[in-house]
Amino acid sequence: MIEIDVSLTRSTGFSLEAHFSAPGMGVTALFGRSGSGKTTIIQVVAGSVKPDKGRIQVGDEVFFDSAKGIDLPIEKRRVGYVFQDARLFPHLSVENNLRYGQRRARHDQSIGFDAVVDMLGIKPLLKRRPHTLSGGERQRVAIGRALLAQPRLLLMDEPLASLDEMRKAEILPYLERLRDDLRLPILYVSHSIDEVLRLSDVVAAVQNGTVIAAGPLSEVLSRRELLPVLGRFDLGTIFECKVKSHDISLALSTITFADGELRVPLVDRPPGAPVRARIRSRDVALSLSRPIDVSVTNRLSGVIRDIRREEGPYADVAVELPHKGLLHALVTVESVERLALEPGMPVWAMIKAVAVDSRSPHFEARDEPFTPPSHSAAPGLRLVSARSLPQESS
């Protein structure tokens, strides 16, 4: 468990109020707009910024307690910090960068050099100097360097923000692997909803220096009142699912959640593995009768809960599924009028595309409707899963 309960006021007038806890495993995303104070929160955890008062505890170690006068120096906290700008030591080779923290962690060498180098694919870089590396390579080395310092907690401050889309796509699988292979809690700062959705299990939403909501991702991101804070993003609906079966000949997988099943392109995860399905509202169409003769495979029946006018010609229709799941559909106001849609009406939702992300096998959402996944099932598939990009079905 990571318990953060701090407040801080700066001379600039910026003030921070962070009172939340994060699980001792998996990725907790600190999500909010630039300048909202996300980075300050992890700086406070790292010890490079001192809060005015409060308490920070990670596992059974108290990092900071203003009441008891505890303020552990940075180097005693054993947090791995991956900075947005990598901050490799320019005068050292990649190998000596990696070993810098390792040499100083005499007490513990449980995260091995070769394992980290293999996991991050940085073996060919060992003899090189940081300035000869690409942005993505630098960030991988920085992650390796942080891991080899044998941290009990990993802090990542927008590690992908300075990279272009290609490089992001290069690093993301490594981050997923990190999350899945190491039993290490990660606090991940990001303003990109895509990264948050892909990596995290728990989200703390930050606005104007205050953590305004924290909890399991699907729960926090489905709170519509948070939308203005989180920024308008084309999110739609998130369902925490499990892989049920694969059909290799059709290249399709079936994933299940409380309200039914979805057929998606083959997912690189074994049956039973937790995955996250994201359905954009604009990929959902509505029908009053059971749709037949349509190409869309995924159909769910439900009842309209509310209709909300959006910008432009659109309306957001929230459809309540049998087991209380809410599915959002973005349709035109014209369609709403033509079909005379109203709350309480039964409808069929046709889902044109589902993006599937793998989830941390360590983390169980509080409302997890499924039994824990069998971690050992088809271990060979797990490395492959690191390459699973969000997939879309039609």
Partner: protein, 230 residues
């Protein structure tokens, strides 16, 4: 040879004085440069002023202050002499002290700029990797400010080689002890047939200065390549 034995003595003495003045002033210059760059404290402005005083005071005044503090009968000098038998008057050691004091603010400035240029974030990164403040300074900050230390040392060397006013006031103009190149040139201009000597020593000064500049440029390039800045 091109130089007379007297002139050789002056050249060798100059190099010795400048070398040791630089060597001895570097560690305190690094320390003071670091304080000025990284530490905030009340009275920092005054401290900064005192450090830079030798730069703005007439060098004769600096020499005179050294004389009344470190001279055999000076405020501190008398104890040095009574307790340890150390006298700086008329000695090479005294000339070295004078050169070091005068060049100190110049090297502090160069080093301070170098430390300003070292990203604090990189030091923080070292701390999160388990390095104490001191450890981070020696393994990260110091190597990264090597170009600054080098230019500080060069400025110190050049200024020590050219030191005149403080030296002649503090330790006088004693051949073989305190008569460095500038003092030797000064003496030569007072001799009826000293023009040739003054000219030769002037040529030596030019060669030394150029040589130092070229060496420093080469070393700077190497360090920057090692640090990945080129």
């Amino acid at each position: 040879m091109l130089l007379t034995p007297d002139e050789w003595t002056a050249v060798v003495l100059s190099l010795r004085v400048a070398f040791w003045a630089t060597v001895w002033s570097m560690p305190p210059a690094i320390f003071v440069g670091w304080i000025l760059s990284r530490v905030e404290f009340p009275g920092k402005g005054l401290f900064d002023g005192i450090v830079h005083l030798p730069l703005v005071l007439p060098k004769v005044v600096v020499g005179y202050i050294l004389l009344i503090t470190l001279g055999t009968r000076g405020y501190l000098g008398q104890y040095l002499y009574d307790w340890f038998g150390i006298s700086l008057m008329f000695t090479t050691a005294g000339a070295t002290v004078a050169a070091a004091v005068v060049s100190f603010p110049l090297s502090v400035n160069a080093i301070r700029l170098a430390i300003d240029g070292v990203d604090k974030g990189i030091e923080t990164a070292a701390r999160t990797l388990g390095a104490s403040k001191l450890d981070a300074f020696f393994t990260v900050t110091l190597p990264l400010m090597l170009p600054g230390i080098l230019s500080g040392a060069l400025i110190s060397l050049a200024s020590a080689l050219g030191e005149f006013g403080a030296t002649i006031t503090f330790v006088s103009n004693v051949e073989g002890q305190t008569r460095t190149i500038p003092l030797a040139i000064y003496s030569a201009t007072h001799m009826p047939d000293g023009d040739a000597m003054a000219l030769r020593l002037t040529a030596v000064s030019v060669v030394l200065a150029l040589g130092a500049l070229i060496l420093a440029e080469m070393a700077d390039r190497r360090i920057k390549i090692a640090l990945g800045r080129i």
